[in-house]
């Protein structure tokens, strides 16, 4: 089990670095969808191996909500707001953000080993991988200015929580695990509503500015 877990963890860390590499939102969303599917596959595998239904339910929820529904929602919204299709003004260059993300992975592994790792024993060291994902997700949020990419950063961070819960606390009730998966659905819906409101208020302001300019011209 620890072997498949660490392979899953490393695949997701690599996908986290790919997130830093990309500038187009659609690619970032698809990379996030791929990382969610990888987690879902691990859940399904765990369910089959342990002959338990709850990981299978989690696998279906993760693949359905995080791997499919949320990416589709974001990509659809991209068609409405095409100016948000890429990151135009990142906080730092791509190469530096890849290297810094990697440094954060190393830091998180060291931090884990230095703090929690002391108490969890040899097998618990694998829980360091979701720790790295938490840092990668948080770094994606602060290294980009595009709202969609920041949202993906938050989702990635939540993926880390999900994987940490699955490995560190396998006795956790299904309800709580499922809540972590579904929690994001609410976040995305709320974020979409806020964005729509913001766009509408902006367009009203734009109209007001345009009308004011027109009346100014007519007066002039």
């Amino acid at each position: 089990m620890s072997a498949t877990y660490s392979i899953t963890g490393f695949i997701i860390i690599v996908l986290g670095l790919f997130l830093q590499w990309q500038v187009y939102v659609s690619r970032i969303v698809f990379t996030f969808a791929a990382s969610s599917i990888v987690i879902a596959v691990w859940f399904a595998y765990q369910g089959i191996v342990t002959d338990s239904y709850s990981p299978i339910v989690l696998a279906v929820l993760t693949a359905g909500v995080r791997g499919t529904l949320i990416p589709i929602l974001i990509v659809r919204n991209l068609h409405v707001t095409p100016w948000r299709a890429r990151e135009n003004n990142p906080v730092m260059g791509t190469a530096s953000s890849i290297v810094l993300s990697l440094v954060l992975v190393i830091f998180s592994l060291w931090l884990f080993r230095w703090s929690i790792g002391r108490y969890v024993g040899a097998t618990g060291v694998y829980a360091a991988l979701p720790f790295a994902m938490l840092f990668q997700g948080a770094f994606l949020i602060i290294s980009r200015r595009n709202a969609f990419i920041q949202m993906v950063g938050y989702l990635e961070l939540e993926n880390g929580v999900l994987l940490l819960g699955a490995w560190g606390f396998p006795q956790l009730p299904l309800l709580i695990e499922a809540a972590i998966v579904l929690d994001l659905l609410g976040v995305v819906v709320v974020a979409r509503i806020i964005m729509r409101m913001r766009e509408e208020s902006l367009s009203i302001d734009d109209r007001a500015v345009a009308e004011a300019a027109l009346s100014e011209d007519m007066r002039g």
């Binding site: 072997a3 490393f10 690599v14 791509t94 990697l102 592994l109």
Partner: protein, 316 residues
């Protein structure tokens, strides 16, 4: 026996190198539904260049003329020390390890760049400058990859690494090994000038290695190109025999398996050439400054190999 095998390996690499360069062009054209050049076109080009006279810029020093011979000799020397057709060291095998081999590759690249600068051509300067910028980052990554392989086998000797990977399925399937394979494949794309790094066109916007020999002609240009083909052949062979597919390389000096492996290596190289052609036909070229993002990812893969070893304690 070992000396004879060394000569066979040298001839195998030097004579087949232009074939795979030609095969790459042909497969790429076939993928574009064109008839494409003859697979042997690179041989015809080399023969044509050997028959032509040399024209040397009047401002260039004698070094300019010597450089192609020097680089070609260095690449030929590398054919004697790397595991191409055998998994046991030949006569010159113990002379260098992986770091030594990397230094010889680096020395050949430096000679090329100095000669390009010596030609006083703006295009050659442009190529030398770009190549120096890229290799200043890619070559330390290569060293990091060799260090990771050292973790795996306890040595930097390519023959021992091959033997370790051939005999240990645990190491072969380890995360450390596959991260190293990923990193070396990306370095291979950089060093052999494949897409998304360099497109083989005449546009100066994307030229790197292509523009360095722009002032060469005749036999010097032939040696420059031939050396480039041998370098590509060597790096591809190292990728196949040491990193990704170390199997079937003969571990004992027996004539039957050795002859059989010549055919197997030919097939392995053909498959990798087709992979390169597929990549070249499906991936767009990066803008020059985006190449450094690619190199950053390569560095990430090499470092993740070490992290995988650290996290799993070498169990995976």
């Amino acid at each position: 026996m070992l000396l004879l095998l060394s000569l066979v390996q040298l001839a195998f690499a030097a004579l087949l190198a232009p074939f795979f360069a030609g095969l790459l062009s042909t497969v790429e054209e076939k993928l574009e539904s064109k008839s494409g050049p003859n697979v042997l076109q690179r041989y015809f080009d080399l023969i044509k260049l050997f028959r032509k006279e040399s024209v040397v810029p009047s401002v260039a020093s004698p070094f300019f003329r010597l450089a192609p011979y020097a680089t070609f000799t260095l690449y030929l020397f590398l054919t004697l020390v790397l595991p191409i057709i055998t998994a046991f060291p030949l006569t010159f095998g113990p002379v260098v390890d992986f770091v030594g081999g990397g230094l010889i590759f680096g020395a050949a690249a430096t000679v090329k760049k100095i000669a390009a600068v010596d030609s006083r051509s703006n295009y050659a300067h442009l190529g030398a400058s770009r190549a120096a910028s890229i290799s200043s980052l890619s070559e330390p990554i290569m060293v990091l990859i060799f260090i990771m392989l050292g973790v795996l086998s306890g040595t930097n000797n390519p023959y021992i690494i091959n033997n370790t990977l051939q005999t240990s399925s645990a190491w072969y399937s380890s995360l450390l090994h596959w991260f190293v394979v990923g990193a070396f494949f990306m370095v291979l794309l950089v060093e052999t000038g494949q897409l998304p790094i360099e497109s083989q066109t005449q546009s100066e916007f994307g030229m790197i290695d292509q523009s360095m020999p722009i002032e060469y002609s005749g036999p010097e240009l032939a040696f420059f190109h031939w050396g480039g083909y041998v370098k590509q052949f060597l790096l591809m062979s190292v990728f196949l025999n040491v990193f990704s597919l170390p199997f079937w390389v003969p571990m004992k000096p027996e004539p039957g398996p050795l002859l059989g492996y010549l055919a197997i290596h030919f097939v392995k190289m053909t498959v990798l050439t087709v992979v390169f052609a597929l990549l070249n036909e499906t991936v767009s070229k990066y803008r020059l400054y985006k190449i450094f993002d690619f190199i950053a990812m390569t560095f990430a893969f090499a470092l993740l190999a070490g992290l995988a070893y650290y996290v799993t304690g070498g169990d995976l």
